[in-house]
Every structure is written in structure tokens, then in C-alpha cells.
Symmetry: C2
Subunit: 441 residues, 2 copies
């Protein structure tokens, strides 16, 4: 294997064989191929793509670089949900206890926030004491006992992907569909799932703002899963405005708890229950979409979903009382109301500046080594097309200090505009993609 | 300067400003930008190219990363020739003493062989004692004294280019026109030239086998030179067969000495004198092509060119007696005749397998750290369209041992074919490219 020749072949539009990919990923993991050769190859992949066979081999090589959760002796279905990442996206926090409560095991492996999107692990750590660094063995025990474990990518799982992801982040090679697909699927397949639901965000705040590329990404992951005994269904959901009313780690935990207690904002309810229904259907735990929605409603209104969240929090070292008393969550010392400057109709609530705004307030990361202030962020009480009067409170800034509050005001001035006409927004759930079909909803 | 953002901008078809390129090259030279980011950027440049302004800034940043020969107080013209690299290309060895003898200073900076093409520095070192590691100060003194210095790229000259070139070689990012142009011109401009002649090889053995890309490369270098007070003229010459009758370091020195003594093979004479004439014209040392050719003929036939080569060899620590007695050059212990297997017409003498064959015999490098056996190579006594009879000696293999001789036979079987019909070959000198014109000759 002469690496520069492999790079040149990919660069010139050729393909590498499955065994070349295997050998390459193995050698890279072992430190025998330097980062500078791998990053040049990654950039060539960005431009040239990968064939299906190459993506398969690449995924399998990353998967086999580490350990996997062996859940094959579990009798219940194992489902996870993966989102391509958005602003205000706290769906995982809600679905994990809700779906587990309905008899489906949820071995959920999540990431940390980077750039304008938040990460589930950071949000969970806003719960005092909550630990996400479970070993695979501990996660397995917890799954048997309470049907859910919320973990990060341990060093055991797909270490080649972990090393590659850090390199991609540093070299402008993140946004390549085969690389994204292989990265996500190698980790998800290591969870021992019997099914996976993808939340493909569309709109300006999405990771890949072009819808056709998002759909291509979904199809690639669906094919990778189908061939490996893990059926995948994807929904395309709106990310032209933040999801729900909160952006920021502790604030999103608060909104998730309110959801589990039966008080969700409408948009978050629609997106979360659509994704949850797909999980229940893939698991064979619901007979129809209607049945799935009824089961979820019942689990919430009966208090069982909230109770399951208490159990998960307790199992992972957190204070379960936060579910009953959200004042136990960390809160920002400075909370400032932000008011509408005029009468009118909200024209847009743009997710990217808000996501970057949370980072600017200290609540996210510019690099993986940054510390995160879990308390800060925004309550945003309006949506595009909300009718407001001058002086109405349209947002609350949660900041560490007055300087942060001032940054927050600037962010909201950029992200929220008030005008006179109604505006078009994306449907909350626009497409359902399965193996072989893209259905417009 | 956030490097991943710069990489993404180039990747997505944008441009970097002159000051961004300056800062980036400076930081890379200083070790503040890691190789893995630079190689991803180089691959993005491979796909996206560079604007003229970017190539300018990139070239200037590499040029200013090191020292330059300050020859501005020299009264005579300073010319160099650069070839894009071919098999059997010993033109530099001949032109350096020949043009210096005609009153033009030749500060010639050359490279080592890599891949299928040889390097002038290796060839020179086949002369017992010859040293090419002159400092810039020593080169300057020698230029004043005998009008020529044959040196390598010292650590002083364009160190950023030296570091980048090694990275490009390891990452499949060599063949990008702006990168090639900037690399060559940053070194050539550091020589303090008043003019430069480019030998752009075309055909299957050329560095970039597509002629239009070769012409684009020439035009880019011509523009870079023109703007920096160094007029450049390029000739496109044939590399669909080796140039001259020898391939291999000591063998090519032998052929160069025979040339300077008045016994050149026809093809080598035509290409060398065409390039030499352009050097003399650019220097103002000849009034016309005819005048230039007459001057060169006279310098050779009078023995003055050979005498100048003796002086250069002596100045650089070599044994000048090789010019009178080629048996002083190192020679291979095994020399085997290779004969035509049938009557017929030579169909092709393919340069790449022969170039790679010299490497396989030990006479070239796979990586820059390989040692080179200067003795080995091929005499190839036929050209495409030569008429041969079965049993005629058509080549001599020069090898270190019998195993090498056997490799050499395999190489010649691949590279030389005998058939029945005449074949088309490229004209030896096909195009003359100047600032603003591409003239077909």
C-alpha cells in the first residue's frame, strides 16, 4: 500500500478496493499513516465522493476498529434516533425516556456541541451529577434494568472514527456525504440496534442547507443500515427556525422536563412525536402511527415518561428531583427581557446566529477543548408569523454577566426581525424517507 | 486566521486574499500550521485552482521565506533553463557550460531525480568529486569568476517551498498548475535571473501528459516571471521517447561530454540548441536564432565549451579530466547487449517504463532518502521509426549485477516494440510560448 498512489487514484476519480480501505483505516488507527496523508485523501473524497462499495468498506473498517454493544441476546427491540444537528434540538432528551417507557430499549450514544449546534451530552450534564461516561458494560447493565442508557462515544467504540472526526474538523473536510454517513453509521451500528430513526434537518440552520444533499445523506445511511440488519427511516424536519422555545443547555433540559410533564410547545411536540412514532413502528411496538401517538400521549399524561426519566437520571448519578423541581437546574445570574421594538409580524428567527450566540455567551464550543457554561442561552417566545406589539417580551437572555447580556441583545437583533407581511416557513415534518422511497408529507 | 475556515473557503470555490496567503505560508514555515491542514488545503487547490492574484501572493510568500542571490550589480545577463522533467534529459549539463562560454552568466539551480525522471544534481555527482552543495555566497563568487554555478536548492532559498514540496510529494498534490508554477518560479526568481527559458515536455513521458495543461503551466510561469522583471520564454519539446541515446546518471554525463566535444545525437542537438538559442536571445547575446546557432556551433567546434565545462567541474571539486577521458566516469560492472528479436521498424521507445527501469536498476529514487547507483541505466541505440534487423544490438543494459541485467531486459521488452509500419512521433520542438503568444513551430 503506497499511500500517495491511493490518494492520487481517488483524486483522479478512481476507486479504492475494500481491502485497500480496510488496510488504510487500520494503518491510520495504528498511527502508521500520518494525518497529513489522511487529510489530503479526505479532501479528495470531498470532491470525488465514494462508490457504494467504498462507503461500505469504509464504514465496516471504522466499525471493526473498536468494540460494540452486543445486545443480540436481548429479547426487546433496540432503537436510537440520530439528528443531523440543529438549534434548540432537545428531542433526544425527551424520546429516550418516552420510548424506553413504551418497552423499547434505547441505547443512545450522543455527541457534544460544536459550532452552532448543541450536543445532547452537554445538555444532560446540566442535570447536577449526571454522568455520561459509562463503559459499554455498565451501559449494557443499565439497558437490561431500565431500558435506556445515555452515553458518549467511548474510546472503545469506533476509535478510527473518533480520530478521523477530529482530523476532519480541523481540515475543512466535515461536509462530505460518504464521510458523514460512515461516521454516523459506524457508531450507530456499534450500539447493536434493531432500528434507527434519522432526523434530517432542512433549512438555513441545517448542517447541509441544500435539501437534495440532505436527502442523499439520508439515503446513504438507510442503505448502510439496511445491509447490516438495522432498518433506518428518516424524517426531514424544519430547521429554518429553532425547535421549541429554548436554546442553551440547562434551558433545553427545562423544556424537555416540561414536555415530559405534558406541557410542550407545539412545534417541539409535532417533531418529537413524529420521530417517536417512527421508532415505535420500527420496533414493532405500535401497530400504526395513530397507535404510536396514543401510546406516547398516554405515557406522558400518566406521568410514566417523567418517572422513567427520573430513573435514568438516578441510574447515571444525577439528581432525579430536577424532574419535579426545575429550579434545581443551574440558572444564569443575569436574565434580561428582550422586547419587540415595533408592532408587526415576526419575519424570521434565524437559527445560525442564535446557535453561534449561545457559543458567544459561553454555552458552546469553538474547539473541543473549550469549557461550556451550561446556564446561558435564550428563551425565544416567538416564531416566524407571530404577531407582536411594541414592548412585548419576545425573548429572555440568560447570561453569565452584563457583557454577555449585551452580546445576547446583539444576537437577537440579528436573528429576529419584525415586519408587516406573513412569511413562508418550512413544514415541520416535510419528507419521510425509507429504503426505496422519498415520500412528501 | 482560522485555518479550517480558509480551507473551507478554497474548497467551496472562493479565494484567499494576498495577506491571508502571506500569513498562512509564513505560519506554515514557522511550524505554526500543521502539515495535515496544509495538505488538505493543497488538495482543495488541486481541485479549485488559484486566481492569478492568489498565485502571485503564494509565489511571493515562498520567495520571501528565504534568501536570494543578489546579482543586481553584475553587468552581464543571467539566464537559466528549467525543464518540466523527462527521461534522458541531460540538456542542462550541456547548456550550462555552453551558454556561460558565450558571455551569459548561468546561475543554475537544479533538483534530484524522483519517480521516472532523473535530476541534474544526481547526474553531476557522477563526476568524481563534484559537489553541488555550494552556499549562495560561494555560488556568487564562482559566477563572477567563470560565469556558471551548478547548485541545488539550499536551505537558504525558498525554505517554505522545500517544506511544501516534500508534503505535496507525500500527499498526491504535486500536479496542480498554480502549485507547480509557484514552486518553480519562487526558486528561479531567487536566483536573480534576467531571463528564464522553460522546456515544457509533451507526450506520454511528460510530467503532465495533456498538452493543454502543459501550455497553461507555461503561461502561468511566463506571467509570474514577466511581472517580476524576469522575462520567460517556453518551448514545448517531445517526450514521447527518451531524449538522446542514454538514460542513467553517469551515462548521461558521458553523452553530455560527447556533445560538448562535437558528437551529439541528432534529437539531443536539435532540442538543446533550440533552448540555448532562446537563452542567448533573451540575454541579448545573439542578434537572431541563426546568430545564436552559429555562436553555439563555434563554441563547441573550437573546444571552448568543453574547456568551460572543465573549469566548472574543477571549481566545484570534480575531476576535470573526465571531459577528456570518459573512462574516468563510474561504470557498471555488468553491461549486456540487448538485440532485436525480429526484422522491422521500431514502433515506440516509451519513456516512463525506461525511467522507472533506471529506478529499478538502482539509478533513481522511490523516496528522497534512497541511495542512487550512478553507474546504471541504458544506452538505447534506436528511436521510433528506426529500421532494424533481427539480432541488431538496439540497447545496452548497464547493471550492478546479473539480477539487474535481467530487470533491464524486462524493461526493454516493455518499452521497445518492433512492428512493420512507420509510426507518428511528436515534433522535437513543437511550440514557442511567450508572454501573449503560443506559436506552433
Amino acid at each position: 500500500m503506497i499511500v500517495p498512489r491511493l490518494i492520487e487514484r481517488k483524486r483522479d476519480g478512481g476507486t479504492l478496493t475494500a481491502s485497500e480501505w480496510r488496510e488504510l483505516i487500520h494503518a491510520y488507527s495504528a498511527g502508521d499513516v500520518p494525518d497529513y496523508q489522511m487529510s489530503a485523501l479526505l479532501m479528495a473524497i470531498f470532491f470525488r465522493g465514494m462508490t457504494r462499495t467504498e462507503t461500505d468498506a469504509f464504514t465496516d473498517a471504522m466499525l471493526s476498529s473498536g468494540a460494540r454493544l452486543d445486545l443480540s441476546d436481548m429479547s426487546v427491540a433496540r432503537l436510537d434516533k440520530h439528528s443531523t444537528g440543529g438549534v434548540g434540538d432537545k428531542v433526544s432528551l425527551i424520546l429516550a425516556p418516552l420510548i424506553a417507557e413504551l418497552g423499547v430499549a434505547v441505547p443512545m450514544m450522543s455527541g457534544r456541541g460544536l459550532g452552532h449546534t448543541g450536543g445532547t451530552l452537554d445538555k444532560l450534564e446540566a442535570i447536577p451529577g449526571f454522568r455520561t461516561d459509562l463503559s459499554l458494560a455498565a451501559a449494557r447493565k443499565q439497558l437490561d434494568r431500565i431500558g435506556c442508557a445515555l452515553i458518549g462515544q467511548t474510546g472503545e467504540i469506533a476509535p478510527a472514527d473518533k480520530k478521523l472526526y477530529a482530523l476532519r474538523d480541523a481540515t475543512g473536510t466535515v461536509e462530505a456525504i460518504p464521510l458523514i454517513s460512515a461516521s454516523i453509521m459506524s457508531k450507530k451500528l456499534a450500539e447493536g440496534l434493531t432500528g434507527l430513526v434519522l432526523d434530517i434537518k432542512s433549512g438555513s440552520g441545517a448542517f447541509l442547507p441544500e435539501l437534495d444533499r440532505e436527502i442523499e445523506l439520508a439515503k446513504t445511511m438507510i442503505e448502510l443500515g439496511a445491509d447490516r440488519g438495522c432498518p433506518v427511516v428518516a424524517l426531514v424536519t424544519a430547521m429554518d427556525r429553532p425547535l421549541g422555545n429554548t436554546c442553551g443547555n440547562a434551558l433545553e433540559v427545562r423544556e424537555s422536563i416540561e414536555f415530559l410533564r405534558g406541557n410542550p410547545p407545539d412545534d417541539l411536540a409535532i417533531v418529537t412525536s413524529a420521530l417517536g412514532a417512527e421508532m415505535l413502528l420500527l420496533a414493532g411496538a405500535a401497530s400504526s402511527h395513530e397507535d404510536a401517538h396514543a401510546q406516547m400521549r398516554d405515557a406522558i399524561m400518566s406521568g410514566r415518561a417523567a418517572e422513567r426519566f427520573r430513573a435514568i437520571i438516578a441510574a447515571q448519578g444525577g439528581d432525579p428531583n430536577v424532574v419535579d423541581d426545575i429550579s434545581l437546574l443551574p440558572s444564569a445570574p443575569v436574565q434580561i427581557e428582550y422586547r419587540a421594538a415595533r408592532d408587526g409580524i415576526v419575519q424570521h428567527v434565524t437559527p445560525r446566529p442564535i446557535g453561534h450566540g449561545v457559543v458567544a455567551l459561553g454555552g458552546g464550543r469553538r474547539t473541543m477543548s473549550d469549557a461550556v457554561d451550561l446556564r446561558v442561552g435564550f428563551d425565544i417566545l416567538v416564531k416566524p408569523n407571530s404577531v407582536v406589539a411594541a414592548g412585548d417580551v419576545i425573548a429572555i437572555i440568560h447570561a453569565a454577566d452584563n457583557a454577555g447580556a449585551s452580546i445576547g441583545r446583539g444576537v437577537l437583533e440579528e436573528a429576529v426581525a419584525i415586519g408587516d407581511a406573513a412569511v413562508e416557513v418550512l413544514p415541520l415534518v416535510s419528507h419521510r424517507i425509507t429504503s426505496g422511497s422519498v415520500e412528501r408529507l
